[in-house]
Amino acid sequence: MLEIYQVSKLFNPGTADEKIALMDINLKLNEGDFVTVIGSNGAGKSTLMNIISGVMQPDIGDVRIDGQSVASKSESERSRWVGRVFQDPMAGTAPNMTIEENLSMAYARGKPRGFGWAVTGRKRALFKEELKRLGIGLDARLRAKVGLLSGGERQALSLLMSTFTRPGILLLDEHTAALDPARAELITRLTEEIVRSMKLTTLMVTHNMEQAIRLGNRLIMMDKGRIILDIPPERKQDLTVQKLLGEFERISGHKLADDRVVLG
């Protein structure tokens, strides 16, 4: 499904601030894999997401989706396969447009945008059905401006927008980190439900160890631009936060340092 092949990326190459962001990353996601990613500050988690979505280009290496190289494709071209939810709840929706207009833009993902009406009766009925699945009452507010919603509601809408067209790959970049605990829990639950029911191939970066262990069938750990640990489904089941921290220290030789890390 998704193959990352010998990908490396340097920041500020040739200057005093040169930094290895990713070094020789190889990663293969099978169809339906739900992989959680943890790691310390500057481990390269976000860079990896940006390279998959096409925001950044790798210095060397290749990204393949469905066996096809997407290295030369821009961010907007790759959106046909890749759905994304950002950390910032404000980032995934357009605040001055209505809920139905936002959903309509998501609905048109990967299709040419022309002069057809953006919101039709048929689409509105579909959007209503989809919004009902969130269970937070947004289906009654189709014509409300998104800017009026709370951060949690906006993030739930972002999640729906990036998943209901069944993207080949779903990227979640710490998408619960900016929310208060109750709302983060709601978004986590919705994520789990949606990914499971739609069998989406998912890569989720999180700083919450407990979440990383609870969700998904595979867990990878990154440090200093490398993947240092890849825990397969059979071993992931009896993982605990303590074991994970111990493992990290043993391999990397230092403590997991993330100023926002939540142990659970």
Binding site: S53, R113, W117, A118
Partner: protein
């Protein structure tokens, strides 16, 4: 008096097309495009040259619209592909267009007196009923353009254009090329501005190389006055507000000129416009921050009082 007011209303409807253009860049794309000052003249110049060379007025008007589209594409390309700052891209195109406009027109001023224009049919009749017909026609033109723009802004492409100004990162993640939507928006904007210039030239009976100077500020004034009167709401109301704002601007200006005790001259227009825009920009910001401060004070006092009541402090 009535005569100058009907004149103001006519001008208001014709300049409304220009203001709708400014609305697209300034409000939808969040990109203050100064090309407008020159593309207005481009439209007027193209229409005047073609009409004075015997072309059909409707064809000349259409060509003016096309000229504006082309000018907008250049600014859009400069800004998106050339990564030139938006204000600077507009200024560069404005200067370049000045020379191009002279080339198009061949001389700084073209008279259209004694030639057939779009408005000849109306102008040849005597005052009163036909004057009314004139206003109705111009009203219809402004409203039709407004409704077409509304419709466009509700298509898939129109939504992508609006999202480009609202949240670029989001619409890009859903597969829209924001460079293209920006170019499209700036182009459409300047097309409308040039169309407005073509109408003004035909109505006034001449095209002049300097007729576009200050147009961007007049456009901004119309957008802002309209919003102040109707409030910024959904697209339908927002574009209606632009048309109303353009009318209000012209009427207020006509009245100010008529008020002899003010001793105003026609050349004071630009200063008055600038003052209107400054007031419209500054007052809402100042009142908003004052209101916020007040609210914060009240709310904190409430909370503090509540805590004291519970003996928490």
């Amino acid at each position: 008096m009535i005569h100058s007011l009907t004149g103001a209303v006519e001008l208001g409807f014709m300049y409304a097309l220009m203001a709708l253009g400014v609305y697209i860049t300034y409000r939808i794309l969040d990109f203050p495009d100064l090309t407008v000052d020159a593309s207005f003249t481009t439209g007027a110049g193209i229409a005047a040259v073609m009409i004075s060379h015997g072309q059909a007025p409707w064809l000349a008007t259409l060509a003016a619209f096309g000229g504006g589209l082309a000018a907008g594409i250049c600014t859009g390309l400069l800004h998106t592909k050339g990564k030139v700052n938006g204000l600077l891209a507009g200024i560069i195109m404005m200067i370049a267009l000045y020379s191009i406009n002279i080339r198009i027109m061949g001389k700084p001023n073209i008279s259209l007196l004694n030639t057939d224009t779009l408005f000849s049919g109306v102008a040849s009749h005597e005052w009163h009923d036909f004057r009314l017909a004139y206003i109705v026609v111009l009203f219809a033109v402004a409203i039709v353009v407004k409704l077409l723009l509304d419709a466009f802004l509700h298509t898939d492409l129109g939504l992508a254009l609006r999202a480009t100004g609202d949240n670029k990162r989001m619409i890009r993640s859903f597969g829209s090329n924001t460079d293209l939507t920006t170019i499209l928006g700036v182009s459409l904007s300047n097309g409308l501005v040039a169309l407005s210039g073509a109408l003004i030239a035909q109505d006034g009976g001449s095209a002049d190389i300097s007729m576009g100077i200050g147009m961007i500020v007049i456009g901004l004034a119309s957008v802002i006055i309209g919003e102040a009167m109707l409030g910024p709401k959904r697209v339908f109301w927002a574009t209606l507000a632009v048309v109303v704002g353009s009318l209000a601007y012209r009427i207020v200006f006509a009245l100010a000129l008529r008020a002899e005790f003010l001793h105003l001259k026609a050349t004071d227009l630009k200063l008055i416009t600038a003052v209107i825009v400054i007031l419209a920009l500054v007052i809402p910001t100042m009142s908003r921050s004052a209101k916020q401060k007040q609210q914060a004070k009240r709310r904190t006092a409430e909370l503090a009082a509540g805590m004291r009541g519970k003996g928490a402090i």
